[in-house]
Symmetry: none
Subunit: 134 residues, 2 copies
């Protein structure tokens, strides 16, 4: 398991929220990928949000890993959304022609969860948690 | 920020409407691109309409910039539609083999907004959505 400093994976209802807190090297990225996919099965997750807001670079290995996670998660029945891609990071990814075609993306955690709600379908009423107004 | 004469970026609900009022040189086009991507984050926009009806030419740099905006916007969670491409402009773009592959396009602002409504899914009150019954 990657230490809590680098990455955290939290469960929220049917979703997993993975935050990458700092740039990961390739082996850490690979470990993260395996941890996350394990958790999908263990927690029976229907959706995964990967928050990369803390990163100011996403190199091609990291991008490919995120894409792999998205595809593997899909095969395990979960939808993946990457959120928090910073503007400069996005420009660089596009300039370098990184293929992000199959990745769902959203502005931030809130939008990512909303996207999952739409993609995964009506929530089991798991979520008094988020239920806005009292 | 590019002056109001050249470009305007207005917010309408969850969408941004950017109108290019006159031909932009490359540096103005680049500035426009960055302004617009910043606004996506600031306004939490889910969709962007870029109106190029005032332009009677779209050169390859401008076309590439529009494509970049579309891809960067997607990574930031927004769908981009280019509207108002004039017939002669469209003929020229096709004749020159400009690659517009990933760009959504629509006839005019109205059709562009309709396309966003379909692409982005049920409009906002996403939070009401989650907050169970009234």
């Amino acid at each position: 398991m990657t230490g809590p400093r680098l990455v955290s994976i939290l469960r929220q209802g049917p979703y997993l929220i993975a935050s990458i807190h700092t740039a990961l090297d390739d082996s850490q990225m690979t470990a993260f990928q395996h941890d996350l996919v394990d958790r999908i099965g263990r927690d029976r997750a229907r959706g995964v949000v990967i928050d990369v807001a803390a990163l100011d670079v996403l190199d091609s290995f990291a991008t490919r890993t995120l894409r792999t996670i998205g595809e593997v998660a899909r095969l395990r029945g979960a939808v993946t959304v990457v959120v928090g891609i910073q503007p400069e990071v996005a420009f660089t990814m596009v300039a370098l022609g990184m293929d992000t075609g199959s990745l769902h993306t959203a502005l931030d955690l809130e939008e990512g969860l909303a996207l999952l709600d739409r993609a995964v379908g009506p929530r089991r009423p798991v979520t008094a948690l988020r239920g806005g107004a009292a």
